[in-house]
């Protein structure tokens, strides 16, 4: 297999509130010998909120990000579910609407760029599964996570809408019964925990305006995992991570029960199994302490 190479769209969170996600992404890519070319020109994806305010502007900005991946001739990988949603949604809309694509390209033309639609947009989770292969991960595991019950938390924007799922990678999964993260946990030697909330919402996007709703959803997710004896949770989304890792107090108040679990980024889990150090994976950056390592 030739060396895998992708254009990396980090999103904003990896540069700010989840530095550990950036660190562990690079550490894991190094272990797997995957080359990631960081799209340092990329802007924020709008996180579904700019889209509420100015739809056309969000399309133009996201098309610009993809255009940079296209210039490298590479698949764009995202490491945030919401970046994945908004980038893949932009691609979907432009690829299916020639008139809209032309309008967007008219704007991109002003800065000498063009959106062609030649780069696939996929989350790192699916790049690993589709291109690298879980069997190979399994072979590379040096510290199997066999003593841990690990609860997968998929995050909405990687699994819904399924329409985008089907376009974004080779092994689309059913949003009502997703398996990718479970399979990854198993490949790392861990015991995957099945619980009702694994494919549900963490509430992140309404945190400011609807704190009770958001905290209840976070609480339900943590409680669901705890009730199935999870030792920790794992998620491919830094926004879910922020909610589950830092908001346990509000979540506990909202559902009337103490809930708290260590929550790891998908990359950190792979890194642990592959023998990366605690420092390399930034495990000291968590608010809910990762005390088992």
């Amino acid at each position: 297999m030739s060396k895998l190479k992708y254009a990396l769209f980090t999103g904003c969170t990896a540069k700010e509130s989840t530095p550990e996600q950036m660190m562990s992404t690079m550490a894991v890519a190094k272990k797997l010998d995957i080359e990631l070319i960081e799209l340092t020109e990329a802007s924020c994806c709008g996180a579904s909120h700019l889209q509420d305010y100015d739809d056309f502007l969000s399309l133009v900005l996201n098309a610009r990000n993809i255009a940079y991946a296209e210039k490298h001739g590479l698949t764009m990988v995202t490491i945030c579910n919401t970046c994945q949603l908004n980038t893949a949604m932009t691609k979907h809309r432009l690829d299916n609407n020639a008139e809209l694509k032309a309008r967007v390209n008219e704007k991109l033309g002003e800065i000498g760029l063009e959106y062609k639609g030649t780069s696939l947009v996929t989350h790192f989770l699916y790049a690993i599964i589709d291109d690298f292969g879980l069997d190979k991960i399994k072979e590379m595991v040096v510290k199997p996570l066999s003593q841990f019950n690990i609860a997968p938390f998929y995050g909405c924007h990687n699994i819904r809408p399924s329409e985008l799922q089907n376009e974004s990678h080779k092994s689309p999964e059913n949003p009502y019964n997703p398996t990718s993260l479970d399979d990854l946990i198993i490949a790392c030697g861990g015991n995957n925990v099945d619980y009702d909330e694994k494919n549900k919402c963490c509430g992140f996007h309404a945190e400011l305006q609807a704190p009770k709703t958001a905290a209840t959803l976070t609480g339900n997710a943590l409680a669901g995992a705890m009730d199935q004896n999870a030792d920790w949770m794992v998620t491919p989304c830094p926004l879910c991570h922020l909610k589950l890792d830092t908001q346990y107090h509000h979540a506990s108040v909202a559902i009337g029960r103490e809930v708290k679990l260590p929550v790891l980024h998908m990359q950190q889990m792979i890194g642990l199994a592959l023998g990366c150090s605690v420092e390399e994976l930034g495990l000291n950056h968590h608010v809910s302490d990762v005390d088992f390592v």
């Binding site: 919402c201 996007h205 830092t246």
Partner: protein, 326 residues
Amino acid sequence: MDNNSITTKDVTFKVFRFNSETDYLPTYKEYKMEVTSEEVVLDILDRIKWDIDGSFSYRRSCRHGICGACAIKVNGKATLACKMNLHSLTETFGDELTIEPQSTKRAVKDMIIDKADFWEKHAKITPYLNSEIEEHPDMECVVSIEENDRIMEADLCIQCGACHYACPVVEINEQFIGPAAFVKAYRFEADIRDESHIERLEECALPDQGVWDCVKCFECAEACPKEINPIEKITALHQMIFKDKVYKNGVAERHAVGFAHSIKKHGLLDEGQLVLYSEGPSIVKHIPVALQMFKKGKIVMPWNMPKSDNLDEIQKLIKSSSTTKY
């Protein structure tokens, strides 16, 4: 139809049984059946009622995915019983299927639920065309094909409630209007003949009940059996709130606008400034969590805020491509 292509499968059904008049708690009754590749969930409901237990209750009518009466959930997936092929369900969930009403907490008897909240939410958003038309008009009210296209999809809603009872916010916040009624609101908001535009939009923009409380989980898009994509209509309502200046400068509205400001300045989102801009003085309530995050190196100070390369391009695009003003 070539009968040879029909296959069969043994499936175990766990069916929610409850009578609100006599039962304290529901039970799940197990039925093992041989199911053909031709059968839909409604066939199983019929077989349970006709062959096994006549007291089993569910709603059904058209059997063509038009009336919306038979909406239920199978393994948590919202669907119309008359549309959902059983073999395709077993491909997703395996050979054990749990059949439940749309909302177990609203169950009256077995699959039948009390949909009162669903209709109350509809009533809130003036679910009809409001137009002063003369009793004897001289000509018809002309709607162009393009104008009709805007409402076509939303007009296909059969009010089955699949999206409403799949919405996690509806489950938590009783005031939240919910995706189905928002689709209905959009249907009339986007209708050029309607004259209640601003009043209806104001109803949709209110805190707690309005579109700002949507968590953007896309459960509604996945649930809709008519592929109407409710969240797309909710997003369109958000955009109308800005376009028609119905906003009240609330935290959610400033949060959306704040993205544009931040991208203009940094290319990236300045998370701290966004919360400050959105919350104003109320930011104090975030201090305890912010302090915990700060200790763990999760807060970037304004003077250390990273910027996108070629920021001038982004700024140029913001100038040339912005379509909304706040």
